[in-house]
């Protein structure tokens, strides 16, 4: 097994060959599935916990506080302690709630996030699913989550939850358009829907640089719409604390609440990862035209690090939004989408098509 931090293709290939030699093809595939599943599960759980911790520390820095300090040095075990607490908490269900849907909802939400994470390329060769309609698949499965939210709000038999779920439904359905259209703009530019090919296309320059104006507009729109799609502030009106107590997950406790909580942060990761992949070059190092020495130094940093640096930067920007802006009202959120983002987006696609046709790009 040849482990190479710059390219995981050989590693995954070796594992596959090794398994195929020792087991029957069916068993080998099953074992591969299990390995991939466990790795993703672990990654999601740990990265989710890290994001919660990061959010608390970043938010504390915004507010001139310290954030968690008690559990472990600088409070790094705080989220793990919280998670253990949530695991041990009693699961409370409202008496008149719909038993089946109430219990189903958190799973739908978290499964949707898992599905979406599968197509993201973390590094060369480090991608569970690499197929030619990657972008299309991602936009499709990422909107499955809203069904879980709607079910959660409806089945808990609580008016606050219901209002929250309805808001969330209207919001996510609308912003799905903007997310798809801004991705579509970049698909027009890249000429492919396959994530690995999109990343490969940015070897010389990231799309946000090479696509200049339309790409930047698309990036900004994607950030706004992505924030809205993850139900984060200033678009957190599905769980608007000051209005609806906790929105659609008011009645959830313990591990089911933890699932919603985790799903929110995984969604945050997915949106940032997509933004990083499509606009900022994914795991591609920063390259500047002909500065060979500079490019060489950049190449020295492993692609995985590049990927996570970009993702964390985008996450930080999204957190910055949340901790600065007041929340929008439900009608304003729809106005923003239908009167501002959508028309701009459509014009932007045209612009991008012109840019591609006239080859007016780097």
């Amino acid at each position: 097994m040849a482990f190479n931090i710059y390219d995981f293709t050989t590693l995954t290939h070796d594992i596959h060959v090794g398994l195929a030699e020792s087991f029957s093809p069916f068993l080998a595939t099953t074992i591969e599935w299990v390995i991939v599943g466990v790795v993703y599960l672990l990654f999601v759980a740990l990265f989710g916990l890290f994001l919660v911790y990061a959010e608390r520390k970043v938010c504390a820095a915004f507010q001139q506080r310290l954030g968690p300090t008690r559990v472990g040095p600088w409070g790094i075990f705080q989220t793990i302690a919280d998670f253990i607490k949530l695991l041990m908490k009693e699961l409370i269900m409202p008496r008149k709630a719909d038993w089946f849907l109430y219990n189903l909802a958190p799973f739908i939400v978290i499964i949707a996030s898992f599905l979406a994470i599968a197509v993201l390329p973390f590094a060369p060769g480090l991608q569970a699913l690499d197929f030619d309609i990657g972008v299309f698949y991602l936009t499709a499965v990422s909107s499955v989550g809203v069904i879980g939210i709607l079910l959660a709000g409806w089945s808990s038999n609580n008016k606050f939850s219901l209002i929250g779920a309805m808001r969330s439904g209207a919001q996510i359905l609308s912003y799905e358009l903007s997310v798809s259209l801004s991705l579509l703009t970049m698909v027009v530019f890249a000429g492919t829907m396959q994530f690995s090919a999109i990343v490969e296309g940015q070897r010389d320059a990231w799309f946000i640089f090479s696509g200049h104006i339309p790409a930047i507009i698309a990036f900004v729109i994607f950030l706004i719409a992505g924030t809205a799609e993850t139900n984060r502030g200033p678009f957190d009106l599905a769980e608007a604390e000051s209005e609806l107590v906790a929105g659609f997950h008011t009645e959830y406790s313990g591990i089911k609440f933890a699932m919603f909580f985790l799903a929110e942060y995984i969604n945050l990761f997915i949106v940032s990862a997509v933004a990083a992949t499509v606009f900022l070059g994914g795991w591609m190092p920063l390259h500047f035209g002909n500065f060979e020495s500079f490019n060489h130094v950049m190449d020295f940093i492993p692609p995985v690090i590049w990927f996570f640096m970009k993702v964390l930067t985008v996450i930080f920007i999204i957190m910055w939004f949340k901790w600065t802006f007041p929340r929008l009202r439900v009608d304003q959120i729809l106005t923003l989408e239908w009167k501002y983002l959508l028309p701009i987006n459509l014009v932007n696609i045209l612009l991008m098509a012109l840019v591609v046709l006239t080859k007016f790009h780097f």
């Binding site: 915004f62 001139q64 506080r65 910055w320 901790w323 600065t324 501002y340």
Partner: protein, 160 residues
């Protein structure tokens, strides 16, 4: 056309105000060492309360276990909540005079609103406000305190 220009201008103006807001919070996030949090239990050794801070009523005793309380009961009268009870005892002085002295100065911290009226009214300055504010106890009965220490007596020279 005019409304279209207004539409474009409104977008840029709106985004500009948002950026100004982000600049304010951004200034703080990149200077995280300027935090305002006091880490309370950790800074207990260095924590100094203001001298006038009202934490609880205490009766200072000097080195000879003497206090200044005559048991006149003015603090009890001035207390709005009935959190002070004075129990006096009668003794016969060696000269054969009957004299009333403080037996127990009972103070119900649980009922006290720390209004400072008793301290202000005390004619001999026997009670003062203490700076301790960590009053949490497991048993509510512990909030009822006897302020004069056992075996203490009134110091000489306090006029009655």
């Amino acid at each position: 056309m005019k409304s279209f220009i207004e539409y474009i201008v409104s977008i840029f103006k709106g985004v500009w105000t948002l950026l100004i807001g982000m600049k304010v919070t951004g200034k703080y996030v990149f200077t995280p060492w300027k935090h305002v949090t006091h880490q309370y239990p950790e800074n207990r050794d260095t924590l100094v309360m203001f001298e006038r801070f009202r934490g609880e009523v205490i009766m200072p005793h000097d080195a000879n276990n003497e206090h200044k309380c005559t048991g006149c009961g003015i603090c009890e009268l001035n207390c709005p909540n009935g959190s002070i009870e004075i129990i006096t005892k009668s003794i016969v002085t060696p000269e054969g005079k009957k004299k009333r002295l403080i037996d127990q100065h009972i103070y119900h911290l649980g009922m006290c609103t720390l209004c400072n009226l008793c301290v202000k009214a005390c004619p001999t300055g026997a009670i003062v406000m203490g700076q301790n504010f960590e009053h949490a106890v497991w048993d509510r009965a512990k909030l009822t305190k006897v302020l004069n220490q056992p075996g203490s007596k009134i110091s000489e020279g306090v006029k009655e």
